[in-house]
Symmetry: C2
Subunit: 337 residues, 2 copies
DNA sequence: ATTTAGCATTCATAAATTAGAAGTGCTAAG
DNA sequence: CTTAGCACTTCTAATTTATGAATGCTAAAT
């Protein structure tokens, strides 16, 4: 079993390493523990045997192993209070966006990235249960029109298009009427199909140049499906600011992960709504990063958010912020009940 | 004056350096010029006196100076043909987005970034002359509503909001009617003002909880003004792929420029619609980059686009692509006349 | 008058050496 | 069980050395 003093030493080392990114020596921490450096060294040997600490080489200080971080996070980390300043910044966002939760979450996460210098990822799981609510067109000047498609959950897709000269506005209106009649209330991922088999055969009766017009609408609906996997990554280049990422190849490796479409799956895998911490290897991204994930309930839709940083990230600080955001978002959701 | 052979040597050096990023030696190019390396060296001395070439140190090969690039771009560069493959990719974009020019330009530029590994910046100058066309609300399930504001140029701003429980839907409808009556046709940058002085005083008559509702609309309109300075940067991290940017500090310097709000002004400064090349210092961004800028005419709005790369960027290739895009966009604009 | 071969010269890069500092592990005394 | 003391290990940074690439210049060749 691990003694109280060993716990204290581990805590000290983890927190010091998080702060400085430099291996921690026995000398450096013996004062705060009221014992000599030799004593600390003896304990460090035992902590290393328990695989909670590591060394880079014979005479370097100790750094936490992944198990060490895990133990710290599970057993030693004290709930960290947010600074008043940070709280105020978040409050400002909450107050200014009282009515639009989607926007609130977006801005909050951007702020988290800005404050912590970590990278955040917001995964809107949007169109999963969305149904088409209506299609609308607005004639603009010249022969341009604005087409809009709206879902029952309030997602909007719009396209600004130039009407080919051989297409009459009245034809467009008929097309829109047709779509509204036949396709409304269809789940968004089935719209393409329905367009293809139900609308396309009929549309040619109404519209001379139906090909062009049909394609335009078809495209617009496809956009919805793409947005379903809407990934917003904020502060990708924050990794450059971390001292452990001065090696340009490591940075490249991580930045490439952001392009990888597989990232979404890795991030999404979460199952409940708690705040979860994945350290190094556990993140399934790279051994060099940790990820803190959670889900928020926005207007009945699930939004996954993830904060990604170096393994020595300030877990407590991030958890505190996510908690605070969750609390407030929760409060805002309450209102509707 | 500069002799024909000197021009040939300069061309050779610039193109070789663009290809390899390594200083070019006399030996390396003497074969393609049918003379000995000593002759080339003699000429190189003269080109250096003319400030068209530089050396890193006594016995390094030569690299083009900024003047050298300038001379190359102005006098030596041959119009480069696009590869059939690249052309095809662009064609696919043009064909698939025939009706939505905004989307077309966005995707084209993304493709340019992907093909060239440079960074592109699209500056939509959107709301300059936009006027509010209409405000619309769509009631959703529970007590959520979707509010939309549309301009005469077809820009859309929408917000998904939860109705506070003490606000009736009928009150919202009245608010929207009021805005439509009083504010429609106002230039978008004057809307805030008009809301403040004409709508706000009246709204309290109709809506009990008017503060919340008023703020929500106020915000939505503000978004428009923000989008006026809509900057889209694609491929920021492409700089990491260039061999001259292995120094992490240089990369940081450039990435920071992208955050700098001043970047927009620097990029915008263009005056006519030609394709312009700014080399190194001329770019007013960093001595280490070059920028190729131009403006496209999209539905009567000006869109500035800029491609940013290392000074040894493939000027010819980029110009060819931008030309090709401009040609096609032009063709698509024609249709409406 | 050009061009070119030849060679000494310059400088960068990489490898090898050295010196110094940091921090450990172990031993033996407190 | 704690700690002082010291030998030991390894990193880092500074210095040296060697190698190689490419130059500028001189003098001969065309």
């Amino acid at each position: 079993m691990i003694t109280e003093r060993q716990r204290a030493i581990l805590k000290c080392i983890v927190e010091e390493y998080i702060k400085t990114a430099k291996p921690v020596s026995s000398n450096h921490i013996c004062n705060s523990l009221n014992c000599s450096s030799a004593t600390v060294r003896n304990e460090m040997v035992r902590l290393e045997e328990l695989k909670l600490l590591e060394k880079n080489h014979f005479a370097s200080g100790r750094i936490p192993s992944e198990d060490g971080y895990r133990y710290y996070v599970d057993n030693l980390m004290e709930p960290k209070e947010m600074t008043g300043e940070d709280m105020l910044k978040l409050q400002t966002i909450f107050r200014n966006n009282e009515l639009d939760l989607n926007d609130t979450i977006k801005r909050s996460i951007e702020l988290v990235s800005e404050i912590t210098n970590y990278t955040s990822i917001v995964l809107g799981n949007a169109s999963k249960d969305n149904r088409l609510k209506k299609v609308e067109i607005v004639p603009l000047e010249a022969n341009r029109i604005l087409t809009m498609a709206i879902t029952d959950k309030g997602f909007v897709e719009h396209k600004n298009m130039v009407l080919p000269e051989n297409v009459e506005m009245s034809e467009v209106v008929k097309t829109v009427e047709l779509i509204n009649k036949l396709v409304v209330n269809t789940p968004i991922n089935e719209v393409s199909e329905k367009l293809e088999y139900e609308v396309k055969p009929i549309i040619s009766k109404y519209v001379k140049q139906h090909e062009v017009l049909y394609n335009a609408f078809y495209d617009a609906f496809n956009e919805f499906t793409n947005k379903a996997n809407d990934v917003r990554v904020v502060g990708r280049t924050n990794f450059l600011k971390q001292p452990e990422f001065t090696n340009i190849d490591k940075v490249k490796e991580i930045l490439n992960k952001f392009e990888d479409s597989n990232l979404i799956n890795t991030i999404t895998a979460d199952d409940d709504n708690d705040i979860k911490i994945y350290i190094g290897e556990e993140s399934e991204i790279t051994d060099d990063v940790s990820v803190i994930k959670t889900k928020y309930d926005i207007n009945g839709e699930e939004v996954t958010i993830a904060i990604m940083g170096p393994k020595r990230m300030e877990y407590g600080k991030v958890v505190a912020m996510l908690d605070y955001i969750k609390e407030n978002i929760g409060g805002m959701n309450e209102k509707e009940k």
